[in-house]
């Protein structure tokens, strides 16, 4: 009897420890935030280029996370990417002329949406479309533009010399 008790105690401790570990892994190690997700409201924004933005990426204002990207799809009416964001209901006073941009956290970090507040007195409501958007910066584009402009500058400088000969 005494031995059975000890075994039950040991097993109970083991199971408790196991589930505590699982719970910790799910709540503390992942970016899942409970309570956000079913609540809150949706905003829609269209971008020329979303780059490496993924569903679940944070939406922030001045660095404060106010929601997450819910869905990214291609919109054949506008030929643009259509991003649906879910914003926590605590942040319900975003001016309607606010702009949304896609930024990169650090050089190698993930991409997120940053919202810069506008000055309008009316606020964005559930399902409304954001007017002003700024696409993700694609590093390759930037580099090729830089190289092209440099090459163009050099050839312009060399042209008179070539003409002399």
């Amino acid at each position: 009897m005494r031995q059975t008790r000890a075994i039950e105690l040991g097993t109970g401790l083991f199971v408790l420890l196991g589930f505590a570990a699982l719970f910790f892994l799910v709540t503390q190690i992942t970016n899942r935030e409970f309570g956000l997700g079913d609540g809150g409201y949706r905003l829609v924004a269209s971008f020329e280029q979303v780059g490496g933005l993924k569903p679940g990426a944070p939406v922030s204002m001045s660095g404060v996370t106010i929601g997450r990207v819910e869905e990214i799809e291609y919109d054949f009416d506008q030929y643009q990417a259509r991003v649906t964001m879910r914003i926590d209901s605590r942040f319900d006073r975003i001016p309607e002329d606010s702009d949304a941009g896609i930024f990169t956290a650090g050089l190698l970090g993930g991409q997120y949406i940053g919202i810069g507040p506008g000055s309008s007195e009316t606020f964005l409501a559930d399902g409304s479309q954001m007017q002003f958007t700024q696409s993700a910066i694609v590093l390759e584009d930037l580099i090729s533009k830089f190289l092209f402009s440099k090459a163009a500058g050099e050839s312009a400088g060399n042209a008179p010399e070539g003409a002399k000969k």
Binding site: L22, Q28, T30, N31
Partner: protein, 257 residues
């Protein structure tokens, strides 16, 4: 010469098929008994103690050291790219998705699987299983099932504990010893690790739990009733479990990635 070789090859192929068939039939029988076995929960608790609670020390110790090694190696590698801040992400994903389930399963096969196989083999060798049959007690129901269920329930919990301790081990080396910023370590980890990654590890460890328990119970139950037979069953448990776990790991990763 060639004919003999072909015959040999065909024979070993046939033996492999027979083994697979025997395993499948045994597994089907165990799963059919599953609902009834859950009613005798006291027996399962005892086996969870044997397979799970008694494996805790080795699992936690191994988890700590695997995490610490991951911290050292990860830091050394990431420092070359100047991105040692992502050490937390690398360690957490590596542990949750691969090392946690796989190393736990291998340790489980060595610690609990051998114990199960030799116990059942000895029961077979000393005619205890035959005695049960004489008393109209089904040994599969009374002896094999609780061990099987106890093992497969313990595995995911052990893997979760392993991963958690491993992450703390990596944190110990990375943050305390190597000077990675503590805030970066945790926040980058939290930003990158998703719920699905944790679930991938849980699914893997559940599958490995079924595989390891099944192999141990099968080999023990079907061991030859001699001293040599018990020894061979124990060896085969470790070898088969390890190979099956690594094989399954590849297949599961390919499916879930």
């Amino acid at each position: 010469m060639l004919a003999a070789l072909t015959r040999e090859l065909l024979q070993s192929l046939r033996a492999a098929l027979e083994a697979l068939g025997a395993y499948s039939l045994f597994a089907a029988r165990l799963f059919a008994e599953l609902p009834r076995a859950l009613l005798r929960f006291d027996l399962i608790v005892k086996q969870m103690y044997n397979a799970g609670a008694l494996s805790l020390v080795i699992i936690m110790l191994s988890g700590l050291f695997v995490g610490m090694v991951l911290g050292l190696q990860g830091f050394d590698l990431l420092e070359r790219f100047g991105s040692e801040d992502s050490l937390g992400t690398a360690a957490a994903l590596g542990l949750l998705k691969e090392l946690g389930p796989v190393v736990t399963a291998l340790l489980f096969a060595g610690r609990a699987g051998t114990a199960l196989a030799s116990e059942l083999g000895l029961m077979r060798a000393t005619d205890q299983l035959a005695a049960m049959e004489m008393m109209a007690v089904d040994p599969v129901r009374r002896v094999v099932m609780p061990r099987f269920v106890g093992g497969l329930l313990s595995m995911p919990l052990l893997a979760a504990i392993f991963s958690l301790i491993g992450i703390f081990g990596a944190q110990l080396i990375g943050v305390q010893l190597m000077g990675v910023d503590s805030g970066q370590f945790w926040s980058q980890m939290r930003a990158a690790v998703e719920f699905g990654d944790v679930m991938e590890g849980v699914v893997k460890s559940c599958v490995f739990g079924v595989a390891c328990s099944l192999v141990a119970v099968f080999e023990g139950y079907h061991s030859l009733p001699t001293a040599e037979g018990v020894g061979r069953a124990t060896t085969r448990t470790v070898v088969t479990s390890s190979v099956v776990v690594l094989l399954l790991d590849y297949m599961l990763t390919a499916v879930m990635l």
